[in-house]
């Protein structure tokens, strides 16, 4: 495969992924057709951009402060002769609030129906990362957790049992240190597996200890299943309806919930005129 972003490729320091040089080809920005769409989600400042760069060969701004992805949100790569389109979602702490970023991220995962959603977690701040992971798992079970910053965790005296996490979450968990390109090949393998439905996904179903909440959600979820047929994330939709989320309410009303959007891309973000 030719690399359109050939001149942008820098193998400086990507020791382990260069072993897979024959398998991984970075395609930069433009890709006409692809086999699988991958969404990249995560809290801000978790090394999401580093991973994006590593996979696509693009250079987004990477800095050690919770910032914004500055350049293109989409890229592509080729792995094992399959083309993957990678969509970098805005960094968010949660998918439940009403900020623009969160809506964009959430809408893409829900309506864009990516084949795999990779959630980048910060090994040094696992609790907070899990908050987002659990929410994503409510929406889709086709997920991979990239447990990044493992080198930092080590430096801070933390040991993380990735297998325990796989047991708890029911999806692949890949320990990584993206800065050093550690774990990239394992991540690619996991993404491929999930894309091809080769991983037995048993994504964790959150059971809320809050009884009243749990009952309400259960009731609505059942009714949704009855009406819409097999909806894998009925519980999540139920939760959104319960919260009064306008866009989800409309989707239920219009029955667009079950449809597949063919255009897996993000809306462009233009700065709106201040009043």
């Amino acid at each position: 495969m030719s690399t359109q972003a050939g001149t942008l490729n820098q193998c400086g320091g990507c020791a382990s992924s260069c072993q897979h040089g024959a398998q991984l080809t970075r395609l930069g920005i433009k890709v006409r057709n692809w086999d699988y769409t991958i969404a990249l989600a995560g809290n801000p400042n978790t090394g999401k951009s580093t991973i994006f760069n590593q996979l696509t060969g693009l250079r987004q701004h990477v800095g050690n402060w919770a910032g914004k992805t500055v350049s293109r949100a989409e890229g592509a790569f080729n792995f094992n002769d399959k083309k993957f389109k990678l969509v970098d979602l805005p960094g968010t702490y949660s998918l439940l609030s009403t900020s623009v970023d969160e809506e964009i991220a959430r809408d893409f995962i829900l309506f864009g129906k990516p084949d795999v959603t990779v959630i980048v977690a910060d090994a040094t701040r696992l609790e907070r990362s899990l908050h987002l992971v659990l929410q994503v798992l409510e929406i889709t079970s086709r997920a991979v957790v990239a447990l990044n910053l493992m080198d930092e965790a080590g430096r801070n005296g933390l040991t993380i049992d990735a297998r325990e996490l796989v047991r708890e979450l029911g999806v692949p968990v890949v320990p990584m240190a993206a800065r050093r390109a550690d774990g990239i090949s394992e991540l690619l393998a996991a993404i491929e597996k999930v894309s091809l439905n080769e991983f037995p996904l048993r994504a964790r179903q959150a059971r809320y200890a809050d009884e009243e909440l749990e009952l309400s959600i259960g009731m609505l979820a059942n009714n949704l299943q009855a009406t819409f047929g097999d909806l894998p994330n009925a519980r999540w939709v139920a939760l959104r309806l319960l919260e009064g989320d306008e866009s989800i309410i409309n989707a239920v009303r219009d029955k667009t919930l079950g449809t597949l959007k063919t255009e897996n891309s993000l809306p462009s973000m233009a700065l709106s005129e201040a009043r």
Binding site: Y93, S94, S97, T98, T124, R125, L126, E127, R128, H131
Partner: protein, 73 residues
């Protein structure tokens, strides 16, 4: 007692967050909710904002935000 009254170096537990504020969701997103442990790490040289450790990360909050958080030591 509200968070802005917590001395440097001390830890407390969040009791509640002012219901009327729009900040509430934001604070929740950062992991600051009832039951969370929070520690005053250090103030900025000009006194505001103050850095707090919550759930293994350090976030800076302005005094007016800290004032919305009820704590108990």
């Amino acid at each position: 007692m509200t968070l802005d009254m917590l001395e440097t170096g001390c830890t407390a537990t969040v009791k509640s967050i002012n219901n009327q504020s729009t900040e509430r969701r934001r604070l929740f997103d950062l992991g600051i909710l009832p039951g969370t442990k929070i520690e005053n790490v250090m103030p900025s040289p000009l006194g505001d904002p103050i850095a707090y450790r919550v759930r293994s990360s350090v976030v800076a909050l302005r005094r007016e935000q800290a004032r919305l958080i009820e704590i108990e030591k």
